[in-house]
Amino acid sequence: MAGLELLSDQGFRIDGRRVHELRKIQCRLGVFSQADGSAYIEQGNTKVLAAIRGSKQKTLHDKVLVNCQYSMATFSTGERKRRPRGDRKSQEMTMHLRQTFDAAILTNLYPRSQIDIFVEVLQSDGGNYCASVNAATLALIDAGIPLKDYVCACSASFVNDSPIVDINYLEESSGKPEIIVATLPKSEQIVFLEMNSRLHEDNLSKVVDTAVKGCKDVYQILDTAVRDHVSQVATVHGWEN
């Protein structure tokens, strides 16, 4: 991968985007009828399904237990590989997702119950965590579970002295720094933050800003999708009167 140019002189990235451009996002709510809530999201070539199921009786006396299960389909990457649930990467991801949503769900409203969040990556092209968070947020909204705000996640990197947003698989595996942020977009509060590889402290602020901006852009798209979905259903319900 030596000669790969992540950012051309003209300011274009490998897949033709500019530094501040997200990949195309398409999403849909309520894709399954059995689950309490579900959603599907595509961010570029990364495709993720999320489903929510609630209310098994578990013993956290004062709040709901948020449980996650993250898995990747065997066909999700170029190399076909069995990925049993216990896979280390999945476990780590599961734990991150749980923490993220523990902070965003109003957990004290449901004592003694449990919310299961299932996330399945159908196709992976970088930004699995981000797409998973975004999908799970939509699924939680679909399920009518109270959230403080949307949780939107976005990644960023730093190439040739310029921050780039929403990095894909090639950019991820280039060895450049990768920063992953999940935020509550309205208040810009950070729920989750992780960074790999080396980045000079002076640049941290710039890259975090880029990622947070990315989250806000993602939020706009998700919010439009949710509003469309809700209003479509609400009108047939006759709720407007």
């Binding site: 209310s55 509550l184 809700v230």
Partner: protein, 260 residues
């Protein structure tokens, strides 16, 4: 037999609407009001003196109380609601019942009309997985429900089918039991569970349903029940409210297609 296949993308949505049409639509994190004179209802939370939405849905205002009603949610019980439930667990003096609410509901032995006033072993009354019809007696502090089957209207349900739908699709009416002219009865539980059974065997003998009728249901009855079930599902698919008239109209309309 003709088969018609469409890809998912070709499906037409029922109505294309501009989301601007509903002004009171909010999504999580939206500020509903900064006026502190309001009371916080379901689907909202307070932060920095602002009342914000925690779910996506339509804002409803009753006097000073503001709540947001989400599209889809678990059943939030209210006293007096008619519910259909499934027995999950038989305990010492109570049953645990699944009513599609966040926590399991309980049906105390003392809240059951015992046939003949005798004390019978719980297991004989309601077994695991039996379907029961009950009324919400009270709501506990944590949101779980206490049920009762004190009236002869309520009790165990015998032969029929349950349909699980979103509770928000059930229209609140005076009565939720309907004996439809097509030869079947339907109970529209407020919790989104719907029971369809042949007319006659449940409603006639007012024993609370604890004496079970195990006679096979006639084929004609079964066909009517299946058709009704499909009608209910069709209505739900299109997010239409369910009540006796809507179900009946759908049923009548469906008779045009005898082979479905």
């Amino acid at each position: 037999m003709s088969v018609d296949i469409r890809i998912a993308g070709a499906r037409e949505s029922t109505k294309q609407l501009d989301s601007e049409e509903i002004s009171s639509l909010v999504t999580p994190g939206d500020v509903i009001t900064t006026d502190t004179g309001f009371m916080r209802g379901h689907g909202t939370y307070m932060e920095d003196d602002q009342l914000k939405a925690s779910v996506a849905g339509v804002v409803e205002r009753v006097n000073k109380l503001i709540c947001v009603k989400p599209l889809k949610t678990r059943y939030n019980g209210e006293v007096g609601d008619v519910v259909i439930g499934r027995i999950l667990e038989v305990g010492q003096r109570r049953w645990k019942v699944d009513t599609h609410s966040k926590l399991d509901s309980v049906l105390m032995l003392s809240s059951v009309n015992l046939p003949g006033g005798e004390l019978i072993l719980l297991e004989l009354l309601l077994l695991l997985d039996n379907v029961t019809q009950a009324e919400v007696q009270s709501v506990f502090a944590d949101g779980s429900l206490s049920l009762h089957t004190r009236s002869l209207k309520y009790g165990k349900l015998g032969q029929g089918v349950v349909v699980h739908l979103s509770p928000s699709l059930i229209k609140r009416r005076k009565t939720h039991f309907h004996s439809l002219p097509c030869g079947a009865s339907i109970i529209l539980g407020n919790n989104g569970y719907i029971w369809i059974c042949p007319t006659g065997n449940e409603m006639e003998d007012k024993t609370g349903g604890y004496e079970q009728n195990l006679e096979p249901v006639q084929r004609a009855d079964r066909e009517v029940i299946s058709r009704l079930r499909n009608c209910v599902l069709a209505l739900a698919e299109h997010k239409m409210m369910l009540y006796d008239t809507s179900v009946l109209y759908t049923y009548e309309a469906s008779l045009k297609f005898p082979n479905i």
